[in-house]
Assembly symmetry: C2
């Protein structure tokens, strides 16, 4: 069934029916009611494609996910995507996902030039960010999930730096000072922030950091275990992990190798690490509402509502012990 059918059935014009259903434009109360009733009882839904063509709006948002990030990871993206979907559904948008390989923005280009989406959510910001640069010059509205080094970009993020700083500070107060930090590649801004938070907590406490305690660029289970052993060898009494995947691996390695007295903390607090006995405290981030916030910000941007240049998603530190 299409608009014309309803129009002729009700003795109205297509325009009036359209206005009645969309709620925009002047339509008499009586007429509007008749149209809506008819549409509902006959299960009419406007064809969104036709609507898109006429309005130059798709009501789709694109979510770009780097393909490498899919493996070796905690379920960060699926959880985040879930939040995005919730936000989208709330505002009558749909979600298109695209995975892009490192440095290859051809898929992104295709979606954009195809006009399949109104705006884009970029997950996992790199220090050198080709997708973001492309979208900027192409004038496509977008929001990054996670910080961007470019302060003109609208971004939604947990305050990673302060979270890590707080976690480190708390740990220092427990009179643990031989704290090791295990994080992923510094190409990712989030890891930069973790490092900065870590070091600045030490600075504020007036305590020195040993180089051997900072292990950067760790990816994959094997690397985590090596990093743990390096920290243990350097006589660390505490390990701060960049995310839950690292944390889970670290916990396993510590108990497997029979090391005693070393406790760990982590980020995100997903189910991957839930109930690990060695986990001392964790920065708790509700990844789902993180995605939700990002989705809402993008939609606000698309509907020309005012948005903050940077939105911080709340986090808190949970102490298991």
């Amino acid at each position: 069934m299409i608009l014309d059918d309803i129009a002729s059935e009700l003795g109205l014009s297509k325009s009036t029916v359209s206005r009645a259903i969309s709620g925009k434009g002047r339509v008499g109360d009586e007429t509007r009611k008749r149209v809506i009733d008819y549409a509902e009882t006959h299960g009419f839904t406007p064809n969104s494609i036709a609507s898109s063509l006429a309005r130059s709006r798709t009501n789709n948002i694109g979510v770009v996910i780097p393909s490498e990030a899919f493996s070796n990871e905690i379920p960060f993206f699926q959880e985040c995507l879930m939040g995005v979907c919730e936000a989208a559904a709330k505002h009558n948008y749909d979600v298109l996902v695209a995975t892009i390989a490192e440095g290859d923005i051809s898929v992104l280009k295709r979606i954009v030039s195809n006009r399949k989406v109104d705006g884009i959510l970029l997950t996992r910001s790199l220090v050198v960010d080709y997708p973001a640069d492309f979208l900027k010059t192409a004038h496509v509205p977008f929001v990054t999930v996670g910080s961007s080094s470019d302060s003109n970009i609208v971004q939604v993020d947990t305050d990673t730096l302060n979270a890590c700083k707080g976690l480190t500070a708390e740990t220092l107060q427990k009179s643990k000072t031989r704290i090791a930090l295990i994080i992923g590649p510094l190409e990712y801004i989030v890891n930069q922030d973790r490092l900065d938070g870590f070091t600045s907590a030490f600075k504020e406490a007036g305590k020195p950091i040993e180089d051997a305690f900072i292990v950067k660029g760790v990816t994959g289970g094997k690397a985590v275990k090596d990093a743990v052993m390096q920290a243990v060898t350097a006589k660390a009494d505490y390990i701060l992990c960049g995310d839950d995947f690292i944390c889970a691996k670290a916990a396993e390695q510590l108990s497997a190798s029979g090391v005693n007295g070393v406790r760990i903390s982590s980020f995100y607090n997903s189910d991957v690490i839930r109930d690990y006995s060695l986990v001392d405290s964790v920065v708790n981030v509700d990844v789902r509402s993180y995605g939700f916030a990002a989705g809402e910000t993008l939609i606000k941007l698309l509907e020309h509502e005012p948005v903050e240049q940077k939105t911080y998603v709340s986090h808190n530190i949970l102490n298991y012990h």
Copy 2:
């Protein structure tokens, strides 16, 4: 830039330009080349929305993911989605995701009646499957990722039953007979299959199963740990886990509680369990190519190519020990 621009610029009609670019219809070689060159140098891409309207095809496939499944899980969906995206990109499709809450198919209805997708991929089939029933009566082409109890439905699956049977049989051969099985809710067909595979391996080996060894309906870390302790109490000497999440939790629980001599095996072989020392063997499923196969099957269906009613994704059993 639109078709008309190229047409007037090149002194051709819109139709000819359209045909030249789409490659369908009769166009002179010379003319076709001119059009394509012009389009390429000026970066023209046809507006997919307009094209969709005219062709009644969106070139989008919808992926439906149950929202509950997002938490408490291994990164199954993001990995699977990745494969779907690959298949889609290969055939010039895009991927729309929708999360639906248990029993609530309103979002699904919206997408379908909106005509935003040409077909749908249903992940996680339940024994009672409302989404599938809805799609069937709505005559929307779809494929299930995982088995369906309805044999008219096109489905892509790992041969879970035989995989689990094989794994069980191998374990029995290691002269372990006190094998416990820990799986999720039987509402999911995949868990039914695991159970069936498990029991049929026992039957073929002519060995009895103790009821206490089968723990069904396990969800969440706590439930896994309870299940493990139940198995240990019943003097199980081996634990077969339904998926990697269960496996990881089981491994942790076993080492935390200092139980010796009990080894475990699992499904999927994602990085969550990589390198766990207690893991003996694992059914290795490449979830990404699983998603890829599902995507390709759906696209074949959409393009009216012949498809198998049931496609099995390959798996193999890895022995770590």
